[in-house]
């Protein structure tokens, strides 16, 4: 074999700590290496040409590039070599940057390690075989998980481009948190007024299949070819018959039985309910945990009044299979609940603020409901305890955010803006009222954002106090807020009528479970990771699965909408081609030695191993061996390690390739 070794300086990134010329020199002496050189930027055009030229001149048949991580430039170098006539799978990369120069200081030691790393891959590449990419068809349909503003935007973009979308929402209605908001910053336009037309557009779109009150149960397959199982939860109402007249909701005798999730627990709802008047779809749900019929077997009033006979008490959860080519995750966020502290939660909480203990200490979303015209008080600014108008409100920012000792280390990004908005909304409704904001810094980065906060301070007279609140307690119907003004250097005490906590945005509680179902990575807070923080912000670690909105990190509406459109564009890129090329890293069976034990079949997570009969000329079955369906195989190699007779091998990571690396890691042996 004629191997060429190319060592990249990566400017100074590698060259500073690894003596690249001497690495190239050492590599030239390895057996099989006929050409070795170093260059400043191997990934640049001249660098790639250098490789191509050497392949032609020296008649190379395999290449090892010592440069950055294969996750970075493996494709680049495979492509370059393939242009020069070498099969791309005869190219290996030694990671001299992320795994060597960037993590070490000592030049001789790093250089020695670099030589070892290249040697191991030179030995490996000797056993590489030419492989041909697998071509698979693309299912041009998308699944969008989550019907908040991000999911709505992504669905509409894909559907308007001409492809079908399945939109799955776990709540009875789409709309998400945006439908709960009163007004939006920095324009103060009514949230529902701009959102509900989009919701209706989704509902009426001929290419969007809306599945509300449903959850993703299982996902199989791979980019371009996912098979998704969706659990359609029992609504107890036949959605194809219901007209949304609402008679059943009116007649339900169990009126104030449960706290409304939509109103953040500030109002109650009947056992049969539609979350809010503009709900899409406008189909009610029976809450079986409180319904009299499900508890005692009597009532059925809703069934009696329904002229369409749409009520179905016997309805069961249905499991529906959908084939899609791309998945967009837009599951959004939840507010950090400070009153409940489950044992497995590392968050220590803010007991001293009295949330859950004092009725007039509320969180940001509850304030939205109070301020909203569709809220429990029809937009009248009244406090929960005695329904009087609060004359003094204290807003506290960063409750849970930017507080590693008690909450989360990250910034929730939107609270500075929504607190300014809350204070403004309050001042617009209660002119003689006083609004105080305790803040750490004002983070108002965004178009017209800082101007908005200035407006709250300068035009609406909201009083901003830099400092933290140490304690809140109730005295004579007032909430005594004790804090510190760190600019004036004095202690502050305010007797407030109501306190609004800007609690942190957190990941949905089941987001890590969903991430596991989708095989995408997530961070320690449960937010789903992007594939690259800068260059792949909407992709995930799994091909064909994209993210949008606050399921990735705290994010406001404009950012979520842009991200959703970006994710939709990524899905559309996928749908632009009829077939997709997949890495040929799949398992292959040696039928001559396979004894047919099928251990490989038992450990395969993808049902990719099948049984194949080998027949003689007369058609008699001589033996049954394993056969790998390369369309299903994902290339994990668990079968390879399990096979007792080593008859199944993972192409690209075969036993002899790995033994070659092990055998060569240390010079002495």
């Amino acid at each position: 074999m004629r191997i060429g070794v190319f060592i990249c300086h990566c400017g100074e990134n590698i060259g500073r700590t690894v003596d690249c010329p001497s690495v190239a020199k050492a590599c030239a002496n390895f057996s099989g290496v006929v050409h070795a050189e170093d260059y400043k930027y191997m990934c640049s055009d001249p660098g790639q040409n250098l490789i191509k030229q050497a392949i032609k001149e020296k008649n190379l048949d395999a290449v090892v590039v010592g440069s950055c991580s294969p996750h970075m430039h493996e494709k680049t170098f495979r492509k370059a070599c393939s242009d020069a006539g070498i099969n791309p799978y005869l190219v290996e990369m030694a990671n001299l940057r992320e795994h060597c120069s960037w993590i070490h200081d000592d030049v001789p030691l790093a250089t020695k390690k670099a030589i070892d790393l290249v040697r191991m891959l030179v030995e490996k590449v000797k056993f590489n075989e030419p492989l041909i990419p697998i071509r698979v068809p693309v299912t041009k349909r998308a699944l969008v998980i989550g019907g908040g503003i991000s999911g709505i935007q992504a669905s509409l973009d894909i559907a308007n481009a001409g492809y079908e979308v399945v939109l799955v929402e776990k709540e009875p209605s789409i709309g998400g948190h945006m439908s709960q908001l009163s007004e939006t910053f920095p324009t103060l336009d009514c949230s529902q007024c701009i959102l509900t037309p989009r919701m209706v557009e989704v509902y009426q779109h001929p290419r969007i299949k809306l599945m509300s009150y449903s959850e993703v149960e299982n996902v199989e397959g791979f980019i371009g070819n996912f098979s998704v199982t969706i659990r359609k939860k029992a609504r107890s109402v036949k959605d194809e018959l219901c007209t949304g007249c609402g008679l059943c909701v009116q007649k339900c005798p169990i009126k104030k039985v449960a706290l409304s999730d939509f109103d953040e627990g500030l109002a109650t709802r009947p056992a049969m309910y539609v979350p809010f008047p503009q709900a899409v779809p406008n189909i009610p749900v029976i809450d079986r945990s409180v319904c009299t019929y499900f508890k005692t077997g009597k009532c059925q009033l809703c069934k009696k009044v329904c002229g369409r006979e749409a009520i179905d008490f016997e309805q069961q959860d249905q499991f529906i299979k959908e084939d899609v080519g791309a998945i967009i995750v837009a599951t959004g966020y939840k507010l950090y609940t400070i009153d409940k502290k489950p044992d497995d939660n590392p968050i220590k909480g803010y007991g001293e603020y009295g949330y859950g203990k004092y009725k007039n200490v509320i969180n940001g979303l509850q304030f939205e409901r109070i301020a909203s015209a569709s809220g429990p008080s029809s937009g009248e600014m009244i406090r929960p305890s005695d329904k009087t108008v609060p004359k003094k409100i204290v807003f506290i920012q960063c409750v849970g955010s930017r507080d590693e000792s008690k909450g989360f280390s990250y910034c929730s990004k939107i609270c500075c803006m929504y607190t300014a908005k809350h204070a403004m909304l309050y001042k617009h409704k209660v002119h003689d009222g006083e609004a105080y904001v305790f803040y750490m810094d004002i983070r108002a980065g965004g178009k017209n954002y800082d101007e908005f906060v200035r407006r709250a301070i300068e035009e609406d007279g909201v009083k901003y106090i830099r400092g933290r609140v140490s304690k809140i307690f109730e005295e004579n119907g007032k909430l005594i807020v004790k804090g510190e003004d760190t600019i004036a250097g004095v202690r502050v005490e305010i007797d407030a009528d109501m306190v609004v906590l800007a609690t942190a945005m957190t990941a949905q509680s089941d987001s890590s479970k969903l991430a596991q179902t989708l095989s995408v990575s997530y961070d320690k807070y449960g937010f789903i990771n992007e594939a690259h923080p800068k260059l792949k912000p909407v992709e995930t670690s799994t091909g064909g699965i994209f993210i949008a909105g606050a399921c990735n990190a705290p994010r406001d509406i404009p950012d979520s909408v842009s991200m959703a459109s970006a994710a939709a564009a990524k899905a559309l890129v996928l749908f632009g081609s009829d077939v997709l090329e997949r890495e040929p890293v799949v398992a292959k069976v040696n039928e001559a030695t396979c004894a047919g034990c099928f251990y490989c079949q038992k450990v395969c997570a993808y049902n990719a191993v099948e049984q194949k009969e080998i027949k003689d000329r007369q058609g008699n079955v001589i033996k049954v061996v394993a056969y790998v369906n390369s369309g299903l195989c994902q290339g994990c190699g668990t079968c390879n390690a399990t096979c007792p007779s080593k008859s199944i091998e993972l192409l690209g990571f075969k036993d002899d390739q790995i033994y070659a690396q092990i055998n060569s890691f240390a010079e002495v042996f």
Binding site: S69, P70, H71, N95, R97, E98, H99, C100, W102, I103, H104, D105, D106, L109, A110, K112, K113, D116, L117, M120, A515, Q516, S519, S521, Y522, D523, K524, N529, S541, T542, V585, V603, A605, Q634, G635, C636, G637, T638, N640, A641, T642, L650, F653, D655, I658, Y659, Q661, I662, N663, F665, A666, V668, F669
Partner: protein, 149 residues
């Protein structure tokens, strides 16, 4: 003293999706670590044949580290569970074949745990440095006169 100069040789088998990427992150974040580890990238910990580990010791490794995705986070759904089950049995056999099983290390390092990877690598290197060189196979090789390349 020879032991003072001893620098352990560590072979690390890491999965492509979690630990290799986590090690990349350590690099991108410029988190310094010792130079003793040599990584071998495999798609999944499920791919790691126990014989790889024995082979690494035979070829002169003083310690072996195996690291992959956290349980439930495997890119291939269940590969790391198969690996974990395999190690439970395999570990008990190591001492039997003459390899000090405490020289075999396992960890789960995710793609976002660059710092943890540095701690794991340095921890393994320091621990093996304390144990001293692993001579079992070297002696054996000498006895049966395996030619040294």
């Amino acid at each position: 003293m020879e032991t003072e100069k001893f620098e352990p040789k560590i072979v690390a088998f890491v999965c492509n999706w979690c630990t290799y990427t986590g090690a990349d992150l350590a690099g991108t974040s410029r988190l310094k670590q010792q130079t003793n580890a040599r990584l071998i990238r495999v798609p999944c910990t499920g791919r790691i044949d126990p014989v790889f580990i024995i082979k690494a010791f035979e070829k002169g490794a003083d310690g072996v580290l195996v690291s992959g995705c956290h349980p439930n986070d495997c890119h291939y759904n269940t590969g790391n569970f198969h690996a974990r089950r395999r190690w439970i049995f395999f570990r008990q056999l190591l001492d039997f074949v003459g390899i000090d099983s405490s020289r075999l290390y396992f960890s789960w390092v995710s793609a976002s745990e660059g710092k943890k990877w540095v701690d794991v690598v340095d921890g393994v290197i320091n621990s093996v440095r304390e144990k001293g060189p692993f001579n079992g196979y070297k002696k054996l090789n000498k006895e049966i006169e395996i030619p040294v390349k």
